[in-house]
Symmetry: C2
Subunit: 329 residues, 2 copies
């Protein structure tokens, strides 16, 4: 029912090979012939068959993207960017959402690998011992996680976290808390270490709380701990937790931004829309997504790229109204 190469060839009075070349290796064919073929193909509505092409070419033009949770606002920008950049290069993106179950990652990645040319993995919580197996799956680029011997695009969260701590310090906060994210999260480690270092450097009193799941509900819980400790500045693992903290503070009559300052991470759309608007560390997920595609394609197409190419993107603090000067008691 669909128009095939052979149909076009017949209509053009040419052999299949010539039509094939006219359409995909234009320089190997006479210019006038090529134009004729292109015209006829267009008129007939010819569309090359993906499976057939994949079969001989050995590639599927599909790339896989694995994320822990589509619903987590951190990921949509990455997903969109990956799709967009992929499309620019004629690649379709297959998304695997592992629903925050790190144990599913390897099997899902294996399954997906059979259909795609390469994988982009944005799963910060994968246990370390799985990384090697993931890595062995072929062209892989990790997002937001540096893996020795593998290509990766990471966001230098330290910079932004540093700015966050400095911001609190500048506002006069002395007792601050860091609300840890999920236990095995690589980004949590990065964020935590940066906060630790910065507060030590600036002579702030730092309390670590958590670990917390990356959910608003965790923040609600955390808020009570924060209040109990007499802390005035809070840096949360992510925006969701920060939003939970704010909600609970308000509920308990504590004014965010006045009594207690709260900082999130991710600069998700909600942060600008929460009340009060949330000061947050902007993490360029979209840039990371595009870059990941570029790196992956470079590896797949075997351009002279070391396959442990390492790209680092900067993060930065976006100050809004959830932070303010410390009360001078």
């Amino acid at each position: 029912m669909a128009v095939t190469l052979a149909d076009v060839a017949a209509a053009a009075g040419l052999s299949g090979s010539t039509v094939s070349r006219a359409l995909s290796a234009p320089e190997k064919v006479n210019a006038t012939t090529r134009e004729r073929v292109e015209r006829i193909a267009r008129e007939m509505g010819y569309v090359p068959n993906h499976s057939a092409r994949s079969l001989t070419a050995g590639r599927t033009d599909l790339i896989g993207l694995m994320v822990p949770d589509i619903a987590n606002p951190f990921f949509p920008p990455i997903i969109k960017a990956v799709q967009a950049r992929g499309m620019q290069h004629g690649r379709t993106v297959l998304i695997a959402d592992v629903d925050e179950r790190p144990a599913d990652e390897l099997p899902r990645a294996r399954t997906m690998r059979r259909q795609v040319d390469g994988l982009i993995i944005a799963s910060p919580r994968t246990p370390d011992d799985l990384m090697d197996e993931l890595l062995a799956l072929g062209p892989v680029v990790f997002v937001n996680r540096a893996v020795p011997g593998a290509a990766s695009v990471v966001i230098d969260e330290a910079g932004g976290m540093d700015q966050a701590v400095e911001h609190l310090a500048a506002l006069g906060h002395r007792n601050i808390a860091y609300l840890n994210g999920p236990k095995r999260s690589w980004s949590n480690t990065q964020r935590r270490n940066a906060v630790l270092a910065a507060s030590a450097r600036l002579g702030l009193e730092l309390v670590e709380l958590g670990p917390f799941e990356a959910q608003v509900q965790s923040g609600v819980h955390a808020a009570d701990l924060v209040i109990a400790r007499g802390i005035t500045g809070v840096i949360a693992y992510d925006d969701l937790i920060a939003l939970g903290v704010m909600a609970r503070l308000t509920e308990r009559g504590v004014r965010t931004g006045a009594d207690i300052s709260v900082i999130g991470v991710d600069d998700s759309p909600m942060s600008a829309m929460a009340y009060p608007t949330l000061t947050s560390v902007h993490v360029p997920g979209d840039a990371a997504g595009s870059q990941a595609v570029d790196t992956l394609l470079a590896i797949i197409e075997d351009r002279q790229v070391e396959d442990d190419e390492h790209v680092v993107l900067d993060s930065r603090l976006i100050v809004r109204s959830s932070t303010g000067p410390a009360r001078t008691t």
Copy 2:
């Protein structure tokens, strides 16, 4: 490099056809042979080549899912459900995010159609005149939009909207507003009509505002209009808008749930976590997603299904704390 059918056949001392049948049409092969083949295949790590199988079989085992915006919290549940159900049936899901650009839908659908066996389209804003063309693309199931002559899974939003209006009426609200969603949105039409009917029936004064984009920011804007009109009960097109309304009300010193009641639609995760928690109409996106897959597969596999099968799912109001008794002035 990869193990092929032929490799397995050679190792088993059988022909390719037998191995093929042993693996995919078990009843056509001797039981002991089959077991032997299965064992050898497993030991050799044989994985059938997707492209090759698609080429002969004429199907890709991929299904396409088109959504307007992954970042909109209404869609992740649908996406997850579609993926999950698809996987149960050995189908992989290709997601197309059209970034809220209805004009992109048709071309994207066309492109996608070449790689998938069928399409699930969850785009409530597609202009009507495109529907026919989308429909012509082959097996298609629409989600949350009834299309004549096409299979669809719609959520009966009227029920939930009805409950929402009744809820406000019961709380004593007399002047209520409906905040319209995007202009061409099919679901907005449904929701609006239901609200209109219910408030007429209950003798409430209804003001329509909008249309608004489905974004928190729109709600912020809407809130001021609501206050200016002296309205006490608000039903927003969706949770995002409702959250924006709440944020702005709080900002202006108006107490949500006490001074003004706010109801959203979608019952997104955020609604339970906002402050105050948001009363919202629960729309079973996940159920719709699974159902859409079932319907689509039924059509693809040509089970005796009318291809304009119509499934309706119920919605219902979840009361939280953003609604309360009307002030008795």
